[in-house]
Point group: C2
C-alpha cells in the first residue's frame, strides 16, 4: 500500500511531518510505502538529517503550498502544483491508496469532493472525531462540522459509517449507536432528533441504544454518537478548549491528556471512495505518525470495501 | 419583596432547602421576606433546628409534592396542592414576587407558561445558564434547552434578554453578544446561524461582536452567547460532565470548581412577566442560597421592568 502524505500542510510542516514519518518508521512495523508530497528542496535536508530508510518512501515534488487561510476553491484551482492538489491527483489516479494532510481544511474538503467520489448510496460524506473515554478506549462522534444542516436520513447514514469505522478501526465488536439529544426518552429533542430516532431504531445495520445527552459524550454509554455537524463541531471545539484550559492551569491528568488531538491525529472523511484524513493545523510529529497509522489501518481492514458493501446491500 | 421558595423540590429537599435559607439569612444582608412552600410537618422541626429569624419568613403549607420523574402536565393538573402548583398560584396572584424551585423541571416549565404570561413582544421565553470564565467573571449562555428549534428572530430576542440580564445581574456595562457558530466569519454555520447573523448585526438594542466558536465559550470573547436550545443544552450538560470528570479524578482547581452549578444555583426563565428560577435537581444549600440571591437581585434591579420597556420600545 502506498500512503500519500502532504509534507507542507500544517503550521509546523515540513519539520514535524518529517519527524512524524520517522516516528512511524521507528515505532510501527508496517509494509506501507509512504509518498511524501512537498517541496523537494525543503524536504531533502530534513529527510537526510532524519536518516530515514530510503526504501520506505518516495518524494513527489510539489512546487506550491496552499496557505492555511487561503480561499479553498480558489487556491485549489490556482495552485495545481500545490501539495494538496497533487495529493488528490495521485489519489484520483490510484498512484496512492490514501491521502493525509494537516493543511488547509477547506481545501482538503473541496479536494475530496472534487476529485474523489462519494460511495454509491452515501448522500452526505461526513467527518468524525475520536472521543477519549475514561476507560481508555475511544468513542466516535460524527458529524463534526462538514454537514451543518442535516436530514434525519443523513444521521442514519452517519450511524452506519461510524459503526463500521468503530468496528474495524477501533475494534468495537458491536458498536452501540447513540443519538445526541437533550433528553433520554424517545420523542425528546429538536425536530431533527425526533425524526431520526425511529429511523435509527428501525435500521438493521446498526445497534441503536437510544438518546445520549451532553453529559454522556465521554462515558461509554455508546460507542458511536451521531448528530448534525453544527452541534458536533461545537462539542469538538469545546472539548479541545477544555484540554487547553487544563493544560494552561497546570492540570496533569492522564485522561485529560488524551483530549489532545495529537493522540488521534486526524479526522477521517467517511463515505468517500478513497481514504482521506484531515489533520489539525497545529499537528506535531505524533499527530502525523498517528494519521499514517490510521490510514494504514483503514487500508488493511479494507474499511472502504466494507462501507461500499454495506451501502450496496441496502 | 416576597420571594417564594419550593422547599420540597430537589433530591435533597427539604433539608438542604432549609440549610440554604439559613445560609442566605446568615450571609446576605437583605430585606427579602421568604415564603417557604412545603409540607409544614416536615418543615417545622428543620426550621426550628435551624433557629431562623421567624420574622424573615412565612411557611405556606403544601400537602403534595411533584416527584422528579412525574409527567409535568399531568402532575400539575392532578396535584394542585403540590408545592410547585401553590408556588405558581401565589406568583400569579401577586402574593409572592418571585418563585424558585429545584423540583421537577418540566413541571416548572409548564407551570411558568400556564400561570404567568410571556412579556409582550417576547415570542419565546428562554432559559439561560451562567458560564464561568477564567478571569473570575461569568458569561451567559442561552437558550439551554427550552427551545430546541428556533427561528433567527428568536435568537435575536435571546440576545436582548441575555444582554439585559448580563447588564443588571452580572454587572457587565455593555455586554458583548456572540452567536455560537462553527466558524468565525459571517456566512459560516448552519442555516439558522447564517440567517441570525445579519439580524443580530442590525439589532440596535445589543452590542453584537460576531460569531463565537465552541472553543470560545469559556473565554471572555463575548459576555452573552446565543444559540438554539438543542446545542445550548448539549453544551451545558457537557460542561457539567467535565466538572464531574475533574472531581472524580481528584483534580482540584479553583476555576474548574466554578463549573459546579451550585455556584450559580439556578436557571432564570427570561421573557416571562414574573421572576422564575429553576434549580438543579441535585441542589445543595449553596445552590438554594444563590438562587434566593439571584431572585432578590432580579427584583432589586427591576430587571423585568427593564425587559418590558425594551420590548415595548421596539
Amino acid at each position: 500500500m502506498r500512503i500519500g502524505l502532504d509534507m507542507m500542510g500544517g503550521d509546523y510542516a515540513p519539520g514535524e511531518a518529517v519527524k512524524g514519518v520517522k516516528l512511524f518508521f521507528d515505532t510501527v512495523t508496517s509494509d506501507a510505502h509512504l509518498v511524501l508530497i512537498g517541496d523537494e528542496a525543503a524536504l531533502k535536508p530534513l529527510l537526510e538529517e532524519a536518516q530515514l530508510d530510503v526504501s520506505r518512501y518516495t518524494v513527489v515534488h510539489a512546487s506550491q503550498v496552499i496557505g492555511m487561510n487561503e480561499h479553498p476553491t480558489r487556491a485549489l484551482k490556482e495552485k495545481q502544483q500545490s501539495s494538496i492538489a497533487i495529493g488528490f491527483y495521485l489519489l484520483q489516479h490510484k498512484k496512492i491508496d490514501a491521502f493525509i494532510s494537516a493543511g488547509n481544511t477547506g481545501a482538503m474538503m473541496v479536494g475530496t469532493f472534487y476529485s474523489i467520489k462519494a460511495i454509491e448510496g452515501v448522500q452526505r460524506p461526513t467527518i468524525a472525531t475520536l472521543v477519549p473515554r475514561e476507560n481508555g478506549t475511544y468513542g466516535l462522534l460524527l458529524d463534526v462540522g462538514l454537514n451543518a444542516d442535516c436530514k434525519p436520513e443523513n444521521l442514519v447514514q452517519f450511524a452506519i459509517l461510524g459503526s463500521l469505522y468503530s468496528k474495524h478501526i477501533l475494534n468495537e465488536a458491536t458498536p452501540r449507536v447513540g443519538l445526541l439529544n437533550i433528553g433520554e426518552e424517545e420523542g425528546k429533542g429538536n425536530l431533527l432528533a425526533q425524526a431520526a430516532y425511529p429511523m435509527l431504531k428501525d435500521e438493521t445495520r446498526i445497534h441503536f441504544v437510544g438518546n445520549v445527552e451532553g453529559r454522556d459524550i465521554f462515558t461509554d454509554k455508546s460507542d458511536v454518537i451521531v448528530c448534525e455537524g453544527f452541534t458536533g463541531n461545537i462539542v469538538l471545539k469545546m472539548a479541545e478548549s477544555f484540554h487547553e484550559i487544563a493544560r494552561r492551569r497546570g492540570i496533569d491528568d492522564e485522561y485529560i491528556d488524551r483530549f489532545d488531538f495529537e493522540y488521534y491525529g486526524g479526522t477521517p472523511v467517511l463515505g468517500v471512495s478513497e481514504p482521506v484524513i484531515i489533520g489539525h493545523g497545529i499537528s506535531h510529529q505524533r499527530a502525523f505518525k498517528n494519521m499514517i497509522g490510521v490510514a494504514e489501518r483503514m487500508l488493511e481492514t479494507q474499511l472502504l470495501e466494507k462501507i461500499k458493501e454495506s451501502f450496496i446491500a441496502k
